[in-house]
């Protein structure tokens, strides 16, 4: 396992545990394109918070990865809102 010196943790609060779990399950199947430069871990904290930890080789891959995650989260939250 190579060194991944940069890391970022984001916490996304949801209305309830079910929503947080759905978000985790919808995001987690997709593998990272370059697993040797970045990895992502998903955890549920305090029942309703989705905690995402991104470890990467530099700032740039972290930014790209997190941007993509947030875009996907927008779609997921829009689903919750609409239906």
């Amino acid at each position: 396992m190579s060194q991944l010196p940069v890391s970022l943790s984001i916490n996304i609060p949801f209305l309830n545990n079910n929503h947080a779990l759905i978000a985790q399950k919808s995001l987690s199947p997709d593998p990272m394109l370059k697993p040797d430069t970045v990895n992502v871990q998903y955890k549920i904290k305090n029942n309703t918070i989705l905690n995402i930890i991104v470890n990467g080789i530099d700032d740039r891959v972290i930014r790209v990865t997190v941007n993509n995650l947030l875009e996907n989260l927008k779609t997921i939250i829009e689903c919750f809102e609409t239906f």
Binding site: I22, A23, K25, S26, L27, P29, D30, P31, E71, N72, K74, T75, I76, E78, C79, F80, T82, F83
Partner: protein
């Protein structure tokens, strides 16, 4: 062997309803279909289309669409179009039996932007997910709309060019492009001419070609059962730069040359499998000149050409629902962990459980 299509039907259930979500290229399509119980190959059990909504991302003239921009477009629309499709279909969410999505082949980012919504809806509503091969979606929709029972399939679009025949529960590829797809060749030529990408580059070339009539000889590159088109594109690009020929004549000649190659390999596939039916699917399939040329060839063989109009030729959600519902009825179920999309997903990888 008699297939049982109704092992999953609840007592008293008369219909299956499927939601299809397609987003493998520059179009996002959501469709809902309803299929009665019983053998789907029986003409009385045809699928009923409840809604079929599509939105296309078009790049400016002279440019192609970029995966990133297309993904942004799909993300922007996906949830709204699903809501619209459901309200247009006048169904309740709990009536839906399965959510079908395109698992590949296609462009990675757009595919991924749609599958995220499919997973979320499947988890929220507790409805099974079904992953569908895009090419199989085209074939099944073509068969359903036209009633062709066992045709040789010519699948021609912006991303794919394949001649396919069914044999022993696989759609087998008889011939295909060795480099770029025929639709891609037309699209890129449209970029050289800087003509509009709306409604589609191929349509605009077709209209220009109708005004041309002088045949300019281009390389004819059939390689056995396969074909190659990148050289033709390069050649015609050079001709365009020299500006000695009229644009209309160039469009006409490009169409004639490409379509003659397609007709040739289709004819050979028909001879191989002893079939006299041809089904044309995919975006380029709505080109009337291609349909006409195919008709001339097939008439000599006393056969039929089946083609559909732009609603079903061009990528749409209904076709994903159609292929997905068949898979669902044969017991298919895609676990969330296995719902990763793939840019490469060959037509013959799919085990066709619903045909004998």
């Amino acid at each position: 062997m008699k297939l049982d299509f109704d092992t999953r039907a609840k007592p008293g259930q008369k219909w299956y309803i499927a939601l299809g979500m397609e987003g493998s290229a520059n179009k996002i399509g959501i469709g809902i279909i309803k299929q009665p119980i019983g053998d789907p190959s029986n003409p009385e059990n045809r699928s009923i289309i409840l809604s079929n909504i599509r939105d296309t991302y078009n790049a400016p003239p002279g440019q192609g669409f970029m995966p990133r921009d297309v993904a942004r477009h799909h993300r922007n629309w996906v949830v709204r179009i699903v809501a619209k499709a459901i309200s247009e279909a006048k169904i309740e969410i709990n009536e839906i039996n399965c959510i079908c999505f395109t698992q590949g082949p296609g462009m990675g980012a757009p595919l991924q932007s749609v599958v995220i919504a499919a997973r979320t809806l499947s988890l929220m509503w507790k409805i099974p997910l079904i992953g569908v091969n895009h090419c199989v979606g085209h074939i099944e929709m073509g068969r359903e709309v036209t009633g062709a029972n066992n045709p040789v399939v010519l699948y021609v679009s912006g991303g794919n060019t394949q001649v396919i025949a069914y044999s022993r529960q696989r759609y087998r590829i008889f011939g295909e492009t060795l480099d770029i797809a025929v639709g891609n060749c037309l699209d890129r030529f449209a970029r050289v001419l800087k003509i509009s990408n709306s409604p589609s580059p191929g349509y605009n070339i077709e209209q220009l070609a109708k005004k041309g009539g002088k045949f300019i000889e281009l390389p004819y590159t059939v390689k056995g059962m396969d074909l190659s088109m990148s050289g033709i594109l390069e050649f015609i690009e050079e001709l365009t730069r020299r500006q000695n020929e009229k644009i209309e004549d160039l469009c006409y000649s490009l169409q004639e040359c490409l379509f003659a190659m397609l007709v040739e390999i289709t004819e050979r596939a028909m001879a191989h499998v002893n079939s006299n039916q041809v089904l044309i699917v995919g975006g380029v399939g709505c080109n009337e000149r291609l349909q006409e040329m195919m008709n001339i060839m097939v008439k000599d063989r006393n056969g039929y050409v089946y083609a559909t109009d732009e609603r079903f030729c061009i990528d749409n959600g209904v076709m994903i629902a159609q292929a997905g519902i068949l898979e669902y009825r044969m017991g298919g179920n895609c676990q969330i962990e296995d719902s990763v999309c793939s840019q490469k997903f060959r037509t013959d990888e799919v085990f066709v459980k619903w045909r004998e």
